[in-house]
């Protein structure tokens, strides 16, 4: 419920920010017709009301799960361990699990955010391929959590980059960002 409280406050802040920015928009030029501010005001108003209701509910509601999962979880979300499952007659051992049922590792989460941010800025500055090669490498490094030595990730990095180059630059002739620095 605390999470929802914070989110409601953030949404109210967003509405206020939008409202402040509405002041510079000129009024309607046609008499009787709604101007360019009308629809944004309507949306802001409704959003603020919904956020306030959510805020009020967050103080009242007991702690219950907010949504019914659509998948059958195979992992314990709290422990991040694989739960016991029946072996099948065909000898299956299960394949993969729904990522939604796992708790993220905080350090990897921050690293993933940073990687994506740096990748985008890198594309803008040095171009698509010079930014993609390190992004793929470090992406794999983050995902592997140090369980695979870094030199074993060089080949997959090269293969992914070559495949992307082959499809988009060589075959489809898609123009990709060249970078502002060059």
């Amino acid at each position: 419920m605390k999470k929802e409280r914070y989110f409601s406050v953030l949404v109210l802040g967003l509405c206020a920010f939008w409202f402040l920015n509405s002041r510079s928009i000129p009024p309607a030029t046609m008499p009787g017709a709604p101007g360019p501010k009308f629809f944004p005001y309507l949306v802001m108003g409704c959003l603020a009301v919904f956020a306030l209701i959510q805020l009020a509910l967050s103080f009242r509601s007991p702690k219950i799960p907010t949504s019914t999962p659509v998948s059958i979880p195979t992992l314990s979300p709290l422990e991040g361990k694989v739960e016991e499952r029946d072996e099948t007659e065909e000898g299956q051992e299960g394949g993969c699990v729904d990522p939604d049922d796992l708790v993220p590792d905080r350090r990897s989460l921050i690293a993933a955010f940073l990687l994506i941010l740096l990748y985008v800025v890198g594309i803008d500055l040095v171009g698509f391929y010079p930014a993609t090669i390190p992004a793929v490498f470090f992406g794999l490094l983050i995902a592997m959590k140090g369980k695979t030595p870094w030199h074993k990730l060089v080949l997959p990095t090269a293969l992914i980059t070559v495949a992307v180059y082959g499809v988009f630059t060589f075959a489809l002739k898609v123009n990709l960002p060249a970078g502002k620095l060059w």
Binding site: F50, T68, I116, I123, G139
Partner: protein
């Protein structure tokens, strides 16, 4: 007749067949792997379509859509984890059957019922869509507003069981549609001093971010070894016998039509249809033992949704779910505006699409039937490789729409927003749907008021508008009731 033959001749060319095979393959793979969705598959293949003719481009994406809807059953049956939310009901009988050594039979039944229902839904689309399109020609701005308003009410249906959170998520999306030039008077709004925002937020870059980036972040931040375990067994598709098919035929037809009907109502979609199909199957078998009917029912229903969902998207320009919203965006990129005029001005495209839909179903039947072992191998594939590649493809997709670096920033912003929305328990699909419906909603609302010189009664004058307002109330009341019921059940448990 000539048009139909011409359409098939067009679709059966080598290039088109290759495109359909690629689309279907990607669709089945994305449908089969839990965490990847066919919506994401459609988005990732979108940049590949920019250099293709419109029919070829849309065919590729339709291949992903149909392949994805069918492929979801693979992991439902083999792993007990739905590849897509639409395949959740298939788990209920599919996985127990698999545990009893009937995985092949269950996969075969799922495939046959999916393809049968899919083809039936295409036939319905072919009959119903022109009628709806003809009717939609009578719509003025007030009627279109009421229709878009009805489309917006579907947000409640894709709100993961919490209407209020869905509405907040949807209105955040609407707020972002106000960025850029206003649609009636051409005045600049909410650009915050950023020049690139004058043309507004790019819809596709935003969609790519919302759907793909949160998944990439999730996969990079969890222990990959827990995500993948090997399936050691050899699985082959075994089709149901003629007697079994005879037994299930009535159920398949019934569930297919349930799916078509549900699909045609924006905002409902595959999961609801599949569970209704499962309910029909249980009524037929009259016991709780896992049976082939429990696979055939939900699979017929969720594949019936594909043709049904295309009816409002093509005829009225109202997407019913995220996948059709992306398809709508793809049509717009290729200069085709969904709506009644599409049927008169681009009849060759429409017929070509019908023919492509039929051929795609047959390709999926052959591909999943013979290539099941390959798709089982795909389930064992390391997720880190897959998602790192997806990150790269996302940036290409976001950039290539307008050849604009700024769109990559938009994608990342949307991705981070999507991640936090999901983290706080808010669904992202309403935000995306609002981004699609926001501009026509505002434009038609204001145009109607200009026509009536500010008189709000214009919105209540037409019986068509009344029909859509009543339908909106009907949908809203239904969703709120369902939401309250779900909350009650959760409290009880």
């Amino acid at each position: 007749m000539n048009m139909v033959l011409g359409a098939f001749a067009q679709v059966l060319s080598v290039k088109m067949l290759l495109i359909m095979i690629l689309g279907s393959f990607v669709g089945i793979v994305f449908g089969a792997i839990p965490g990847l969705t066919y919506s994401m598959g459609i988005i990732l293949l979108l940049p590949l379509t920019f250099h293709l003719p419109p029919l070829m481009a849309v065919t590729l994406l339709l291949g992903v859509y149909i392949g994805g809807m069918t492929g979801g059953s693979v992991s439902s049956i083999l792993l007990g984890i739905p590849g897509t939310p639409s395949a959740a009901a298939t788990c209920l009988d599919g996985f127990p059957l698999s545990k009893r050594g009937m995985a092949g039979k269950a996969l075969g039944t799922a495939l046959i019922s999916s393809i049968f229902a899919g083809l039936l839904s295409v036939a319905t689309l072919m009959v119903v869509a022109p009628i709806v399109a003809k009717f939609a020609l009578k719509f003025g701005p007030a009627e279109i507003f009421s229709l878009v308003f009805f489309g917006f009410s579907t947000i409640c249906g894709i709100s993961m069981g919490n209407v209020l959170k869905g509405l907040i998520s949807g209105f955040i999306g609407l707020l972002f549609t106000t960025i850029g030039i206003d649609p009636v008077m051409g005045m600049s709004r909410y650009t915050f001093g950023i020049g690139q925002l004058i043309s507004g937020v790019d819809l596709l870059a935003f969609m790519i971010g919302m759907f793909a980036i949160p998944q990439v972040i999730k996969i990079l931040s969890v222990d990959e070894s827990l995500l993948t375990r090997k399936i050691s067994a050899k699985v082959s598709t075994q089709y149901p016998s003629l007697q079994e098919l005879k037994r299930m035929f009535g159920l398949m037809v019934k569930c297919a039509f349930i799916g078509i009907g549900i699909g045609a109502i924006p905002g409902t979609g595959g999961p609801i249809a599949a569970f209704l199909g499962y309910d029909q199957a249980k009524r037929k078998t009259k016991n709780n033992e896992p049976a082939l009917e429990g696979v055939a029912g939900p699979e017929s229903a969720n594949n019936g949704v594909t043709g049904g969902a295309l009816i409002p998207m093509l005829t009225l320009g109202i997407p019913g779910d995220p996948a059709t919203a992306i398809l709508l965006g793809a049509l717009l990129i290729h200069g085709l505006k969904p709506g009644p005029m599409l049927f008169t001005q681009h009849a060759d495209f429409i017929y070509g699409m019908y023919a492509a839909l039929i051929v795609i179903h047959l390709i999926v039947l052959l591909m999943q039937g013979f290539g099941i072992q390959l798709f089982v191998k795909v389930l064992n594939f390391r997720k880190s490789y897959l998602y790192t590649t997806i990150l790269v493809l996302c940036t290409i997709g976001a950039f290539a729409v307008n050849n604009n670096e700024f769109d990559i920033y938009v994608m990342v912003f949307a991705g981070f927003l999507g991640y936090f929305l999901l983290k706080f328990g808010f669904p992202v699909a309403p935000t995306v749907l609002a981004l699609v419906l926001g501009p026509p909603m505002e434009e038609n609302f204001r145009r109607a008021l200009i026509l009536s010189q500010g008189n709000f009664w214009i919105f209540l004058q037409s019986p068509i508008s009344w029909f859509f307002y009543l339908a909106t109330i009907f949908v809203l009341v239904g969703q709120v009731r369902r939401s309250l019921l779900a909350a009650k059940v959760r409290k009880g448990s």
